[in-house]
Structure formats: structure tokens, C-alpha cells
């Protein structure tokens, strides 16, 4: 049953992608070659091959070398760039999860902390923390704590952490509070300590809330890392590749797409990893039917 649903969803996804490809190529055929206006606004993009390369040229670009004369094919460059960013995102995500869960436990234990901190956490999700990216990255190479010199890549992960720990903290807190009153009473009747109640009741009860929060955290950490890379040109990551290739777009229009797809793959991989944890953590739970 589950296998059939997965097969159905995947095939729908493939059809969706195919439709997007079809629409792209269709626009190239019927669209204005030099862009055009719609209701007086220059909203129609240029349909020529420089601005909108054919899908096939994007895909075939992977097989050709990155730079003229070099031996390294672009797919390996994009792959290592995406992998670099993936590692950064994972570091950011784990840090974010640790801090987020820790904060949630703290807030759940001390109402004062919750009342003081929660409004800021909620606010932080509406505010472009991304703006801090260039500032945090500028610490790279300059900040010294004892003998430890701050590596530039850590800033990108830290930014990922910023974007990850807020949704994780909020989701975990909500989950910890979701334990039914009757269960809390039960634990009280067992004269259970706060720690025992936390680990035996509150955390397990929180898991269904933590899983979507972790997914948000995962995509947040990817966004934080990629933006950090883009705003500062961090070497080695996929963000920098996108910026570099974008600059060559007039001469080599398909190149930038290779990096863009790489970034998409990065996001999907990260989210796939977290989705795995979803399957593992929720495997013995009653299935919620979602229409």
C-alpha cells in the first residue's frame, strides 16, 4: 500500500517536472526573443538561447569541462561544491538541533525563561536574520579564541544554525507541552522526578512535533549556509559556484544552471536525510491519516 503511494507520488512528480520542462521549451518557441511587455511592464523574459538555454544544453553541460582547457568535468565540480555545502549544512543543523532542543527544555522547565525568550524566538522567525550573514562570515580568519582561529566555513554553518534553531526550539517546546494532563498526573502519582517525567513522558510525546520542526530546521540550515556562501563568496561551496557561473552567463549560458540544479540536489538530500529520521522516529506510532 505504502509502496504504491510512493510510486504514485513519484510519477506525479516526474510528470510535474516534465510539464515544467515542456513549458520552458514552449515559451522559447512562442516567446519574444528580446523580452517584451505585458500590460506595459517588461515582465516577459527573453526567449533567446543566451537568456534561456535549452534544457538539453543544461543537461549536456554537465559532461563538459568546467573551464576551457581543463580536464575536470563540470559535474564533478558541482558535486564537490554541493557536498562541501552539505557538510556545512549538517554541522549547522546539528548545532542548531542541540541548541534548539536545549533551549526548549530550559523554557519548559522555567516558565520565566519561556515568557522572556519565546517572544524573541517567534520574532526571529519573521526577521531576516540572513542579514547577519556578511557580518558573521567576516569573522573568518580574524577571530581568535586562544589558539583556535575561526575558519571562514564555520561562519556559514553558524548562519545555518541561526536559521535552524529557532523553528526547532519552538516546535520542541510545543511538543514538550503536548503531554496530556492525565499522563502528567499519572507521573505525579508515581512520584516521578522532573527529569524522569521529561525523558519518559515529555520527550516521547514531543516527537510528532519535533519531526516537522526538524524538517524546517534542515531547510533553514541549507538556506543559511548557501546565503552565507553567496553573500561572501565562500570558497568551495555551491553558492560561490552559482555566483561565478552567473558571471559567465553571457558567454556560457547553460553553466549557471548546472550549479543551480546542484543547489536543488543539496536541499533535497538534506531534507531526505531528515525525512529518514522521521521514518525511524515515528515507526511505532499510530498513523495520522492526512487527506
Amino acid at each position: 500500500m505504502l509502496a504504491r503511494r510512493i510510486a504514485y507520488r513519484s510519477s506525479m512528480f516526474v510528470v510535474a517536472i516534465a510539464s515544467v520542462v515542456a513549458l520552458w521549451e514552449l515559451y522559447k518557441v512562442v516567446g519574444p526573443q528580446d523580452g517584451g511587455k505585458l500590460f506595459g511592464v517588461s515582465i516577459l523574459p527573453r526567449a533567446n538561447d543566451t537568456a534561456m538555454p535549452h534544457i538539453w544544453s543544461m543537461l549536456s553541460r554537465y559532461g563538459r569541462p568546467e573551464v576551457r582547457g581543463s580536464d575536470t568535468k563540470i559535474w564533478s565540480v558541482v558535486l564537490s561544491g554541493a557536498f562541501f555545502s552539505l557538510r556545512l549544512s549538517l554541522v549547522g543543523f546539528f548545532l542548531g538541533t542541540t541548541i534548539g532542543v536545549g533551549l526548549a527544555v530550559l523554557m519548559s522547565r522555567f516558565r520565566v525563561v519561556q515568557r522572556g525568550l519565546l517572544p524573541y524566538l517567534v520574532m526571529s522567525q519573521t526577521v531576516p536574520l540572513i542579514a547577519l550573514a556578511p557580518l558573521v562570515v567576516s569573522w573568518g580568519g580574524k577571530l581568535e579564541i586562544g589558539s583556535f582561529v575561526w575558519p571562514r566555513w564555520l561562519s556559514a554553518s553558524i548562519l545555518g544554525t541561526f536559521l535552524a534553531f529557532f523553528p526547532i526550539a519552538v516546535g520542541t517546546l510545543r511538543g514538550l507541552a503536548s503531554a496530556p494532563a492525565a499522563a502528567l498526573e499519572l507521573m505525579e502519582s508515581y512520584a516521578a522526578s522532573w527529569k524522569q517525567t521529561l525523558f519518559k513522558l515529555k520527550f516521547p510525546a514531543a516527537v510528532p512535533y519535533m519531526v516537522p520542526a526538524l524538517k524546517l530546521g534542515a531547510s533553514g540550515s541549507v538556506i543559511g549556509v548557501v546565503v552565507a556562501e553567496i553573500s561572501t563568496g565562500l570558497k568551495g561551496g555551491i553558492g560561490r559556484l552559482i555566483i561565478e557561473y552567473a558571471r559567465e552567463a553571457t558567454g556560457d549560458p547553460a553553466k549557471v544552471f548546472t550549479a543551480v540544479f546542484g543547489a536543488a540536489a543539496l536541499g533535497i538530500t538534506m531534507s531526505g536525510l531528515v525525512a529518514l529520521s522521521d521514518v525511524v522516529l515515528m515507526r511505532n506510532r499510530p498513523k495520522e491519516s492526512s487527506t
Binding site: A182, L186, S189, Y190, A191, K200, P204, R285
Partner: protein
């Protein structure tokens, strides 16, 4: 030598403010070991509050509660009672046997001892095949049996139950009543049982404590007098109907005076 003694206990919420609620006023009750006592009464009569006073989940405003010759607080720390609620309250993420093991884990029992006891309890409630299943895979009645198994896992002398069969259909309910009596008989447990149902109270108990609200208090204690055993025929016996009538009248008595009082104030009686 009583199993449980409540002496002139009161529980008043929001004392001194305009929102004051006299949940219990001057309640006294003594229960002998092995007795089955039901608490019955309309909403707001304080039966659940009384149960929670005994369980030390609430502190009495005045008066005292002693369980097993200790204070209620000490009894809770020593885990001298087990509790079962209307919602079975099993943990979805634990298997049935792990659910039963919960109070034993908290007491620090080692693994093999816990597992043996859990198996024992499953045999007692006649659900040994379900040990490795999850609660949501079981019916409501089965979940309640597991909750009872959990409540009795550490073999406490006292069992406190707050309308545990309230969410079950009538047939399952009657079956569960029989099972409960069998289990408590086999373990010689003292039981304090809160219920809304008159037949249930009469079928299960040695004594039925009738309570009334505003303020919450005990109005009458009825000796059921059906003897020590119950079976299929009990529900058709004359003594059973006599008991039900006695309880009903006691309830109506409180209900009537309550209605009369309200009628004077011009409030509609429902």
C-alpha cells in the same frame, strides 16, 4: 487497622476570593483492607477531588488523609497505591509490556524483574499475547485492562479508579466489571472507585458512598450487602435491585433538596 482514613478533610479552591469553590467540606471516610468502595454523585460533588486527595495529587485545605497508616504524601512516595483514569492513558510509543513496566522503571527495578512482573500482570488480565503490540492496536476495553495491569504492577495495597469504564460500551463495561472484581479478589486489593453509574457502583462494591455538590460532601453511605461473591446471577438478584433503589433514592434525595434550593433562587433544575 484501616487501609485508608480520611478525617474531616476539606478542599477549598480560591479561598477568600469571589471565585471560591467548596469542592469538599468536612469529609470523613474509613476503608478497611480488601474493601471495595464506590463514590457516586452528580457533577461537582467532589468525588474526583476526594480521590485526588487520597492520591496526594491535591493537598487538603483542612483535615488529614492517611493511607496504609502513613500520610498521603509518604504513601505516594512509597508507591502504596495505583491509579487508573477514564482515559487509559497508555503511552503510544511503548509496547504493552513496556507500558506496564513504567512504574517499575521509575522505582528502579532491574530489567529482568520488571519483565517477569509485566508478564505476570498480563496473565492476570488475560492478555498475554498482546505483550509486544502497541496500545493503539488494541480496543478500548483491552487498553483499560492494560491500564489496570499497570496500576497493579507493583502490587500496591490500594487501587484508585476514576470512572475507568466510562468510555466503554455497555457490554464491554459489564465484562470489565467482572474482570476487575476477579483481579482485585486475586490480589486482595482495596479499591476506591469513582463512577456515574448506579448499577456499576452497586455491582462492584461493599459500600456505596453517595455524595452531593455545593458544597461537596458525603450525604449517605449504603451497605450493599450482596455478600462477597458476584456472578452472572447477581445482576438479576433481588438484592441487586434493592441496592440500586437505595442508591437512587439517596441520590434523588440530594438532588431534590438541591433542586428545591435552586427553585427558591429561581434557577432551573436540569
Amino acid at each position: 487497622m484501616s487501609a485508608l482514613e480520611v478525617l474531616a478533610a476539606s478542599k477549598i479552591f480560591n479561598q477568600g476570593t469571589t471565585k471560591q469553590v467548596d469542592a469538599l467540606v468536612d469529609v470523613s471516610l474509613t476503608v478497611q483492607p480488601g474493601e471495595f468502595v464506590s463514590l457516586i454523585g452528580p457533577s461537582g460533588c467532589g468525588k474526583s477531588t476526594l480521590l485526588r486527595l487520597i492520591a496526594n495529587l491535591l493537598e487538603p485545605t483542612t483535615g488529614s488523609v492517611s493511607v496504609n497508616k502513613k500520610t498521603a504524601a509518604q504513601a505516594r512516595l512509597d508507591q502504596d497505591y495505583g491509579m487508573a483514569f477514564q482515559q487509559a492513558g497508555l503511552f503510544d510509543w511503548r509496547t504493552v509490556s513496556k507500558n506496564i513496566e513504567l512504574p517499575l522503571e521509575l522505582k528502579g527495578w532491574e530489567k529482568s524483574r520488571r519483565e517477569t512482573r509485566a508478564k505476570e500482570m498480563l496473565e492476570l488480565v488475560k492478555l498475554p499475547e498482546f505483550a509486544d503490540l502497541y496500545p493503539w492496536q488494541l480496543s478500548g476495553g483491552m487498553q483499560q485492562r492494560i491500564a489496570i495491569a499497570r496500576a497493579l504492577a507493583s502490587h500496591p495495597p490500594l487501587l484508585l479508579m476514576d470512572e475507568p469504564f466510562g468510555a466503554l460500551d455497555e457490554m464491554t463495561r459489564e465484562y470489565m466489571q467482572g474482570e476487575l472484581l476477579r483481579i482485585c479478589g486475586e490480589t486482595s486489593t482495596t479499591v476506591v472507585f469513582v463512577t456515574h453509574s448506579i448499577p456499576e457502583a452497586v455491582y462492584l462494591s461493599n459500600r456505596v458512598v453517595v455524595m452531593s455538590p455545593r458544597p461537596g460532601r458525603i450525604t449517605k453511605v449504603i451497605e450493599v450487602g450482596l455478600g462477597a461473591t458476584r456472578n452472572e446471577d447477581t445482576r438479576a438478584a433481588e438484592g441487586f435491585f434493592k441496592g440500586i433503589t437505595a442508591v437512587r433514592e439517596a441520590l434523588r434525595g440530594t438532588h431534590a433538596e438541591h433542586a428545591a434550593a435552586n427553585a427558591v433562587r429561581g434557577v432551573e433544575d436540569r
